[in-house]
């Protein structure tokens, strides 16, 4: 129990006031460990005790922590870029070129920002895959749990991550940027009735110009990061509310499946008064000494390893991997082939293949593949926790037998997306024709 008042003190304190300003990262007693959590602003988001099982490297792979570390690194590396980048169609390209070739350490900072962004797309996606395959959006033994809402938050955060990437890679205002905005906003434009209006609002006019750049810039540097930060805080708060990682449920279930204790409860409300309405998590598993450890230092040490490890890997990779910059944006020439960044290539594939023709009636693949299919996929993903009827025992278990069929279908969808991504990356050549990865592309006849 983290919030229990200290029983013995050398001098009396006001309630909630800690005797020491500093805390120990190497606590000598449970009380010192609890103090470290309660008196440290950053650690206060952590519980005082955590289940050993939920900290295992091979359960969560710490993908959520790594995502958060990457987000933090993106904010850090974005700050110097904010001083150097100029969001104007005349000067954006030159300013990015200066960052890359003129400014001391500029190319490294840009590489950190870019590689962390790519990494974040990968890791957030893997985090979602992990949560699905372990059934971690399911509620276990605790009353008042709503893990399904945290799953919904997670899906939204994945979308925000993708939108952050989209708004980010068009800021250099090179060819990739210009044609990505063209295609992306034309997908919005393909929605019947409201499409053209939506596009006009997105790009601030009818052509892709300064108004477009400043809109995407503000989204990228203010609105979306702020939104993601708020969602992240809420995501973490819900993890605490729901009694920690779903893995911890196993301990609860295994130990005393039938018991519903009245006294041994733990409440997270501020006052802890309205027990009847507040989410109340059964805490005997959290208190059992053989299944739990103090958050300080066990949890904090691992979180530090995950975070610093992420920083180290990205920082070192960024020394060796240069960030590309295409030719300046040219509204007159579409590159051939014009490829989206890798994480949108599966979408580029489905907008290519989904134009439907029934007699003389045609539905643009831009709408089917760009709006309807991804919309359905995201919708299904969002409501999945309510469709999942597997027993509570499948909560927080990798590849639970009772969830075998849905895990298989999910993995097939993931595999499909990966295959489409591979086709887009390695098998599409000029005019979006199919080529084998080892096949040479033909010389394109000179254009007129």
């Amino acid at each position: 129990m983290s919030l229990r008042a200290p029983t013995r003190r050398s001098e009396p304190d006001a309630p909630g006031v800690r005797p020491q300003m500093l805390w120990s990262l190497r606590p000598r007693s449970d009380r010192e460990a609890g103090d470290a959590i309660a008196s440290n602003f950053l650690f206060h988001a952590f519980p005082a005790k955590v289940s050993k099982a939920s900290m295992a490297w091979n359960y969560s792979f710490w993908l959520g922590t790594i995502s958060a570390a990457l987000f933090f690194l993106l904010i850090l590396s974005g700050l110097p870029l904010l001083f150097l980048y100029v969001p104007s169609v005349e000067r954006a390209y030159q300013s990015v070129k200066d960052i890359e070739f003129v400014i001391t350490f500029g190319s490294w900072i840009r590489a950190v920002h870019r590689i962390a962004a790519h990494g974040m797309v990968i890791v957030v996606f893997l985090h979602l895959v992990r949560v699905f395959l372990t059934g971690a959006y399911k509620n276990g033994a605790g009353r008042g749990q709503h893990r399904e809402w945290n799953w919904v938050l997670g899906v939204v955060m994945l979308l925000v991550t993708l939108f952050l990437s989209f708004t980010g890679y068009l800021l250099p205002w090179d060819q990739l940027a210009f044609w990505a905005v063209t295609v992306g906003t034309n997908i919005a434009s393909s929605i019947p009735a409201i499409g053209p209006t939506v596009r006009e609002l997105l790009i601030g006019g009818r052509t892709i110009e300064q108004a477009t750049l400043i809109r995407f810039y503000v989204l990228h540097v203010v609105i979306l990061p702020l939104g993601l930060g708020v969602l992240f805080a809420y995501h973490m708060w819900r993890v605490r509310k729901d009694g920690g990682l779903a893995r911890a449920e196993r301990d609860t279930l295994l130990e005393r499946p039938a018991e519903t204790p009245v006294v041994a409860t733990k409440t997270y409300t501020l006052l802890g008064v309205a027990r009847g309405q507040a989410p109340v998590i059964r805490a005997q598993a959290l208190e059992a000494p053989e299944t739990t450890v103090n958050a300080v230092p066990d949890l904090t040490r691992r979180a530090a390893i995950a975070t610093l490890g992420t920083f180290a890997v990205i920082g070192i990779l960024s020394v060796f991997i240069a960030s590309p910059l295409e030719e300046p944006a040219n509204a007159l020439v579409t590159p051939n082939p014009a490829k989206a960044p890798w994480y949108f290539l599966w979408l580029q594939e489905i907008v290519t293949d989904t134009t439907i023709r029934i007699g003389s009636f045609t539905v643009n693949g831009a709408f089917v593949g760009g709006v309807v299919l991804p919309g359905l996929l995201i919708g299904l993903l969002t409501v999945w926790p309510w469709l999942d009827r597997s027993p509570a025992a499948a909560t927080g278990v990798w590849m639970a037998r009772t969830r075998g069929r849905q895990n298989t279908v999910f993995l097939l969808v993931v595999l499909g997306i990966l295959i489409l991504t591979f086709i887009g990356m390695a098998m599409r050549g000029p005019y979006w024709y199919l080529y084998w990865p080892w096949e040479a592309w033909p010389d394109i006849p000179a254009r007129i």
């Binding site: 601030g204 052509t207 108004a211 006849p445 254009r447």
Partner: protein
Amino acid sequence: MSDPHPKLPADRRDFLLKLGAGAGVAALTAQGAASLRSLVPNVSYDSPTTVKLGPPADFPDGIKFLPDERLFVFRQGNTFHAVSAVCTHLGCTVRAEALANAQTTDVGGGELRLTHRFLCPCHGSEYKGDGTNVSGPAPKPLAWYRLSFAPDDGQLVVDLADEVATDFRLTLG
């Protein structure tokens, strides 16, 4: 003495509370809407849709691509027509590729010599020389735009807001 309207003060308080809350919500909504409305452009600074393309003599027999207007202008003897280079799928600029053997077909009631086909680099749509979509995701043919001669200096003029049918031809002289 008993109060004939025991609930009245509470009702009034309740009413005023709701009025206040409602006014607050309405004020915030209106100010939020005003802020969002400011993002809807009132004036378009887009380039004009009617563009002078140059004197007809600048257009040789066959095809000429005008990148600024994203337009192909065709000349066949004394007749002109213009086909958009904007792919109808997702708006990339298509490229013209010369055919090995030009073919002559009937388009909109007139003979047209098709020397090229159009290919889109973004998603692989393919169009015939008259703009008809033949394969790939393109849902409809490339647009044809109205051409005219400028009354002042006789230059060729395109109206990119005025789509025409495929029987459109502009004849010189």
